[in-house]
């Protein structure tokens, strides 16, 4: 039996996306004109639009609130401390298309996550190699995600890593955060493939498949702490890129807190016995 191979989704600037046709791609839009172009006349392969630097433009969000197409949007904040309150501008557009918010681990992250949660917007947090200050924000954001009952929409990467800790195979952070070159191929303005979070001229390592596997193997061979890390599988060296010398002490605490929550969920699920399943399957009277 042959395994179906999905081509990677290309993530590329709007101008380069015009030639994609029905190949799967994400167009990066940075102006109202680009946004409107793809909303009004999307190519068949367009999966979603990555919207950058446009939260300050109210008119763009009026356009996005039109229901000409239901192309999903991934709205990227570059400075959450300054931009978080602009999320209110997405309210109308949310009614006509799926919208996700992507937020870097930076000052203001928790504010942006709180407001996104209040607006029922799913979130993708890009941790990169977080500084001490960013780690504090990540810890606060994680506590909010794990314990605030009003949170409905997923906050990635917490959500999928938590699922991973509960025996669901959600892949590694590279996949969860759409940075695995085998599944998501990022291109720069010159059309060159890039590994996310790097800008140097030598990008040859992603021209072959298996970047993440090779990266982790290399780290282990070099004696990095990944070799004995209990969260090697969900991480796969994510936090050791691009700087392999990055200390994972802080991110391990993050994983530990997610693991603890995962353990609690597993215990709850385990207490849900086979007998309970039988009881639930019995017909019962409606209750108020």
């Amino acid at each position: 039996m042959s395994e179906e191979v999905h081509p990677p989704i290309s993530i590329l600037p709007s101008a380069l996306a015009e030639t994609q046709g029905d190949r799967p791609f994400v167009a990066i839009v940075r102006s109202r004109q680009e946004l409107c172009r793809w909303l009004s006349n999307p190519l068949p392969g367009l999966r979603w639009l990555q919207v950058e630097g446009m939260l300050g433009d109210p008119e763009a969000w009026r356009e996005a609130a039109h229901g000409d197409s239901n192309i999903p949007l991934d709205v990227v904040l570059s400075d959450p401390a300054l931009e978080f309150s602009h999320l209110y501008r997405l309210v109308d557009a949310c009614a006509v298309r799926p919208i996700r918010v992507t937020i870097p681990a930076a000052p203001g992250l928790t504010k942006a996550i709180r407001l996104a949660a209040a607006l029922q917007l799913p979130v993708r947090v890009l941790p990169g190699q977080p500084s001490a200050a960013a780690l504090e924000e990540l810890q606060d954001a994680l506590q909010f995600y794990l314990h605030e009952k009003t949170v409905d929409a997923p906050v990635e990467f917490f959500h999928s890593v938590l699922a991973n800790m509960c025996d669901c195979d959600t892949g590694s952070l590279w996949t969860i955060l759409e940075e695995d070159p085998d599944a998501f191929r990022h291109y720069d303005a010159d059309g060159r493939a890039r590994v996310p979070r790097t800008s140097g001229p030598d990008q040859s390592e992603i021209t072959s498949n298996g970047f993440v596997r090779n990266h982790l193997s290399h780290l282990v061979a070099q004696g990095a702490e990944c070799a004995t890390c209990p969260w090697q599988r969900p991480c796969s060296g994510y936090f050791k890129w691009p700087d392999p010398a990055y200390s994972c002490e802080g991110v391990k605490q993050l994983f530990f807190n997610i693991q603890t929550a995962g353990n609690e969920i597993r215990q709850d699920v385990a207490s849900f016995t086979e007998a309970d399943k039988e009881i639930l399957s019995e017909p019962r009277e409606a209750t108020p």
Binding site: T150, E278, P288
Partner: protein, 395 residues
């Protein structure tokens, strides 16, 4: 086409047939001429077409709408619905009236245009709603008679009650019994009062102390849960809050929307456009423009400096107030601009009833928790029985 709905609070007249103490509206005899209805309709349809919205809700109120007479509504409906159908759009009409002018002559239009339902208002005790002759007692008597006539005609009637000091004095139990037992209603809504309109001695007395108001609201919530929730009585906004906290789709009132400026406007008989009826009747400094003088409603809403404040308000509140750290932000968003403006002279602050709302939200959350536990109780009970009866299970 978008699933968004655009709503218009349409005041075909600001004239009124009663003399309530706390009315914030400038009562003017001006009435919307049928000659202008096609133009009004065209402007609204142009706008929802620009916004790619299929449906426009029209909330007819005044002033007092029944002053216009049923024949006027029949004609207005024909003009509006025909024009909408020609453009593949739809108007849905709702009626809010004081009922004083109700007679069986209205039944046909209420059935045909308003889905055989209407909204009206009454307080308990009624101290402030008055007829020009006869005062509050006569108002209550006449209104009650009209209510029963409408109910007898098969019209579904919902009642809005504005709380005042007298309501707090009689307490939530008598208040609840009045609407359910005495009036036989199964659907009513409680609104918090606010001193709308120009400064006015009587109106100034309508702002209630938060602690007393919160206690009343919680008491009323408790009674409704104990007696009404399971027996089909709907009390807004409590029912929507229970929906929200039990994970159901909830239709929360406009005061707790993400941003009311996104969802509705109000238009008066002269074509004045403002955020809602409170603004269009009371605060000229916040008019967005005039629909009969400006050809493009979409453009007006986009460029109005007055409207920009409404649009920016929730954003400012999460920056400047403590709303962002409130666990109820998702169901409040800083509350109502007009309640804030009328109390504080600015809308760039959170609703002065913030503490009341938080108390009510916490009460709703607690009741919803009990409801969810009650729903699970048969499973837990069965589980215990299975466990006791199963010798393999060590307890």
């Amino acid at each position: 086409m978008s699933e968004r709905v655009f709503s218009v609070i349409l005041l075909p007249t600001s004239d009124c047939n009663v003399a309530c103490d706390y009315c914030f509206e400038h009562k003017e005899p001006h009435r919307l001429s049928l000659v202008l209805v096609p133009l009004l309709t065209r402007r609204l349809l142009d706008h929802i077409e620009n916004e790619n919205i299929e449906e426009c809700e029209i909330y007819w109120q005044g002033g007092e709408v029944m002053i216009m007479g049923p024949a006027w509504f029949e004609d207005a409906r024909k003009i509006m619905d025909r024009a909408a159908a020609e453009r593949g759009r739809r108007f849905v009409h709702y009626l809010q009236t004081n009922l004083i002018g109700y007679s069986p002559a209205w039944n046909r239009v209420i059935r045909g245009m308003f889905n055989n339902s209407l909204g009206t208002s009454m307080d308990y005790p009624n101290i402030h709603r008055k007829l020009f002759k006869g005062g509050a007692a006569a108002y209550t008597e006449l209104w009650s008679r009209k209510l029963h006539e409408a109910q007898a005609a098969g019209i579904a009637v919902g009642v809005i009650a504005v709380l005042h000091k007298g309501s707090l004095e009689v307490g939530p139990e008598r208040f609840y019994r009045y609407f359910t037992s005495e009036l036989g209603l199964s659907n009513f809504q409680v609104n918090t009062p606010f001193p709308g309109g120009p400064a006015h001695e009587v109106e100034g007395g309508f702002q209630l102390e938060s602690i007393e108001l919160a206690e009343f609201m919680v008491g009323l919530f408790d009674i409704w849960i104990a007696e009404g929730y399971s027996s089909g009585v709907s009390v807004a906004p409590f029912d929507a809050l229970i929906d929200h906290f039990t994970g159901e789709q909830a239709r929360l009132p406009c005061i707790w929307k993400e941003n009311c400026s996104n969802q509705f406007i109000s238009v008066d008989a002269k074509g004045t456009v403002a955020q809602c009826d409170c603004w269009v009747t009371s605060y000229p400094e916040y008019f967005f423009g005039n629909m009969f003088q400006e050809p493009d409603l979409t453009g007006m809403l986009k460029t109005s400096r007055a409207r920009r404040e409404f649009v920016e308000r929730p954003k400012r509140l999460v920056e400047d107030e403590d709303c962002l750290s409130c666990r109820y932000l998702s169901i409040c968003h800083g509350g109502c601009p007009v309640r804030t403006y009328s109390a504080l002279g600015t809308m760039m602050a959170k609703d002065p009833y913030c503490e009341v709302y938080k108390t009510v939200f916490a009460c709703a959350e607690a009741h919803a928790g009990e409801i969810l536990r009650a729903r699970a109780a048969p499973i837990i009970s069965l589980r215990e029985r299975h466990t006791v009866g199963d010798p393999c299970v060590v307890t």
